[in-house]
Symmetry: C2
Subunit: 197 residues, 2 copies
């Protein structure tokens, strides 16, 4: 069995922040395995079951849904050091409502839901970290909803670029447009207007 290298942020999260002992940390990380998702490939599709907790070490992705008219609507993007998946499916055990698609080649560190919960019983801090994480995810979703309701396309685009400057280079225009809920043509024109200023 080959050793997996864990990113600094991962180590810091569970050793420093969460304060797992060396033994607990070793036990925890021993259950991880690597997965790869090629560009444009899907990590999850609607109807799949999300049974893994996946930490992104390389690449980026988007979660999207398909509406009644067949259009893809990007809910959010995911980058390095974030956790990937469809939380609802993971927590409820029900099929995914979302698609998760790699925008760049991705590298993931994964632990099965079963292993994670088993470890959670032996390492209570792990569960309390997880509960806190769900809370934070909820806040993020709520903020996303607020933003979606409040901002005009132009502000939304600028604030997105501010939060994730590399998105311009890494994420194709059409996905950003779908995140902003406008047509690619409109975003293209918006960009043009902005450069003219």
């Amino acid at each position: 069995m080959m050793t997996i290298e864990f990113p600094d942020k991962f180590v810091a999260l569970f050793r420093s922040d969460l304060g797992l002992t060396v033994e607990e940390y070793a036990l925890f990380t021993s259950h991880f395995h690597k997965e790869f998702v090629g560009k444009k490939q899907h990590y999850l599709r609607e109807g799949d079951f999300n049974t893994l907790k996946a930490y992104v070490t390389k690449g980026c992705s988007r979660n999207y849904i398909i509406d009644e008219t067949g259009k893809e609507k990007t809910l959010f993007f995911c980058f390095e050091d974030w956790w990937l998946g469809d939380i609802e499916s993971f927590l409820t055990g029900k099929p995914c409502k979302q698609y998760v698609q790699a925008i760049e080649d991705m590298e993931l560190l994964c632990i099965t839901k079963a292993d994670f919960y088993k470890l959670g019983e032996r390492i209570p801090r792990l569960m309390s970290w997880f509960n806190t994480k769900i809370q934070k995810t909820h806040f993020a979703t709520m903020h996303r909803l607020m933003e979606a309701k409040c901002s005009q396309p132009e502000e939304q685009y600028l604030s997105l670029l501010e939060k994730q400057p590399d998105i311009y280079q890494r994420v194709p225009l059409q996905y950003i447009a779908s995140y902003m809920n406008i047509e690619p043509q409109s975003l293209s024109r918006l960009r043009k207007r902005l450069t003219q200023k």
Copy 2:
């Protein structure tokens, strides 16, 4: 000290669903007090601290934010047998970002955050119920985001009426419009178009 009457759904939730013993339930409910919020009054304002868990026994309300241009944006409504407040402020102890305003005269059953957490230590089921509730709230927010992104005003209006038929009678048009992210005039015209069909 006068006895508070707890609604059927409240009793069912904690006795049947959660399975609290008679003693646990009695202890839990003994910490509640009643509060009232008059129509158009605010239960919470931006900057306030949400230190109560509040169960709605009568009336309805809306959570909203004010955007940079000064416009109110309704995030969601709250009706009988729901829990009221700004979860983020409750969980983090930070000031509210949202306003919570009564649309009708409201009657609430409240327990302080401090009491709730103290009881949570003695009654672990209470905490696990709470964690599950946060999960469900998160799913609801995510669904709201999906809906906000996907549906045209017309479908969104119809689906809202389907989920909460009494909203038409109880909630003024302007608040529904702000929930749908359109101007009151536009909703008025939308309603007209729908009745003509």
